[in-house]
């Protein structure tokens, strides 16, 4: 089976600093892959390269076998890639339902003219988007707060909304940027369960600090340090790798990533 997303020998430099150094990784259908590493290891940069926010200086990205060149973040949804943001990035003045409906943009069919003239076609389109959004919210058990504004909700619920907004686009690959940060233990367990369910429909690439979660749900793990891949393999393999231990020495409790 060929890889869904392949990252091959990607190098990214910011000025004199090398953020990613010949990094390669891949993910196939139905897989959950974790990316871990201490602060400043280049995890978020890797995500940004995949999303088109940063361009690799060398190396290539392949999506379903085709090279991704000069792709824009807005094209991701169309390709089948969705991403959650570290800071959630919910639209603070849009209701939860509207937030998720924005996420469903790629399913919209109505032309701008329908919007200008309020044609019935636009209304039907809206109904569909709303139905789709409500379904996803229900799946994530948060349909009851559809009318609320994100700022009024507990952090854990906001995280679910962000996840719903990503999932409503029906992605093939989901990029999760620290989904567990700020969650209670219970919420984290729920997240793990959720990821195991999701995995049936969507591959997940995960940047995360919480080792328990990573070890629990990931099929494979890639370990970054100073922009280089220092280890890769199953959770068990990575756990026992001395280089990983070394890299993490004294870092394990930190919660933030640069």
């Amino acid at each position: 089976m060929s890889a869904l997303l392949e990252v091959q020998d990607v190098t990214v430099r910011f000025g004199g600093l090398t953020a990613l150094d010949n990094v390669s990784a891949d993910i196939t259908d139905g897989e959950v892959v974790g990316i871990i590493g201490p602060n400043g290891a280049g995890k978020t940069t890797l995500f940004n390269v995949i999303c088109g926010f940063n361009r690799p200086d060398t190396g290539t990205l392949r999506w379903q076998g085709n090279a991704l060149q000069r792709h824009q973040p807005r094209q991701l949804a169309g390709l089948g890639i969705a991403r959650t943001l570290q800071g959630l990035g919910l639209f603070p003045h849009l209701s939860v339902l509207e937030n998720v409906m924005v996420g469903a943009t790629k399913h919209a069919r109505a032309w701008i003219g329908s919007a200008l003239l309020a044609l019935p076609r636009g209304d039907r389109d809206e109904q569909q988007l709303r139905k789709r959004a409500l379904e996803v919210l229900s799946e994530l058990d948060v349909a009851d707060i559809a009318d609320r504004l994100p700022g009024q909700l507990p952090y854990g619920v906001q995280k679910r909304v962000a996840l719903a907004r990503a999932l409503v686009a029906d992605p093939k690959l989901l990029l999760l940027d620290e989904p567990a940060s700020g969650l209670s233990n219970d919420e984290m367990r729920e997240l793990a369960d959720l990821l195991r369910v999701l995995k049936k429909d969507v591959s997940v690439l995960l940047v995360e600090h919480h080792m328990d979660l990573v070890m629990d749900v990931c099929d494979r793990i890639v370990v970054l340090d100073f922009g280089r891949v220092i280890a890769a393999g199953t959770p068990a393999e990575v756990r026992d790798d001395p280089r990983v231990l070394e890299a993490y020495l004294g870092e394990e409790v930190t919660d933030a990533d640069g």
Binding site: F14, T44, F47, N48, C51, F53, L85
Partner: protein, 297 residues
């Protein structure tokens, strides 16, 4: 060649004036993150005060100038305390509207006191007849030299204030991060007021300088509003955060307007400002001298 020299000198003089207005706007922007649209109105009002002293009450030129600057400092300080402070942390547009309200208020007040119907002339500080070069007379006079030098002196004085004194350090710290500055014991509120006051004082100086040129008249609504726009353009060209950029932006704008006025058309001066501004911003969306930071994801 003589023409080019004249245009350059003319552009330099105007450019220094734009630079001073730009500097005033940048000081206020750095202090409070507000573009002061009342700047033109404030300097119009202080120039009227000076005009009243100099032309109606026959006061000495320098006395009138000092009174105008002091009045500017007071108006600036009071405006910050009373009007701007309540909207400083609000939505940015509210501050815009408040400064516009102040502008309109000052125009109306000046009209009530001094009338809208007359354009008043203002005495230049020195001879306004140009220097002689051989048998030709330059379009650059002792009074123009005075304008260039006085703006230069003020710019240097402000540089020293900002870079070499502890007060300046505190002001820079406040501009950089008011919360941290506050935690470090800086009395942020006072410094913001001071920033406005200094900027308005600088504006007042500019008003008097401009009024005394051979293209300036004192009226409630008129050339002082154009000054705001040129000053703003200069500040934006330089990057709103950079005092040095404001000065360079002002001079560059002055020169471009002077050349374009003569070589293209005298009728569309503000269009040149627009074209320059758009051209700069399309290449550098935050001005030439700003340090653009990468947007974080």
């Amino acid at each position: 060649m003589f023409r080019f020299l004249n245009l350059t000198l003319n552009g330099l003089t105007n450019g220094m004036i734009y630079a001073a207005v730009a500097l005033a706007l940048v000081m206020i922007w750095r202090a409070t993150r507000i573009v002061n649209f009342a700047q033109g109105g404030m300097l119009m009002f202080t120039t009227f005060i000076a005009w009243d002293l100099a032309q109606v009450h026959h006061a000495n030129y320098w006395v009138a100038l000092v009174v105008a600057v002091v009045a500017g400092i007071l108006i600036g300080g009071v405006a910050e305390r009373v009007l701007v402070r309540p909207v400083e942390n609000g939505p940015p547009l509210n501050a815009v509207i408040v400064t516009l309200g102040l502008l309109i208020f000052l125009q109306a007040l000046a009209g009530m006191i001094w009338g809208n119907s007359q354009a008043h002339s203002y005495p230049p500080a020195f001879r306004f007849i140009g220097y002689k070069v051989g048998d030709r007379t330059l379009r650059f006079s002792p009074n123009d030299l005075f304008i260039v030098l006085s703006v230069l002196v003020v710019v240097i004085a402000l540089y020293v204030l900002f870079q070499r004194t502890s007060l300046g350090l505190q002001m820079r710290a406040t501009a950089f991060n008011p919360e941290v500055a506050g935690l470090l014991g800086v009395r942020v509120g006072r410094l913001l007021t001071l920033g406005w006051a200094l900027a308005a004082g600088l504006g007042a100086l500019v008003g008097v300088l401009v009024a005394g040129t051979s293209s300036g008249y004192v009226t409630p609504v008129g050339p002082f509003d154009a000054l705001l726009i040129y000053g703003f353009t200069a500040a934006v060209i330089g990057g709103l955060d950079s005092p040095g950029g404001a000065v360079v932006g002002g001079v560059v704008l002055g020169l471009i307007l002077s050349y374009a006025d003569s070589y293209i058309s005298n009728f569309i001066q503000t269009m040149y400002a627009l074209v320059v501004l758009i051209a700069v911003l399309m290449i550098r969306p935050k001005g030439i001298f700003s340090r653009t930071s990468e947007r974080r994801v």
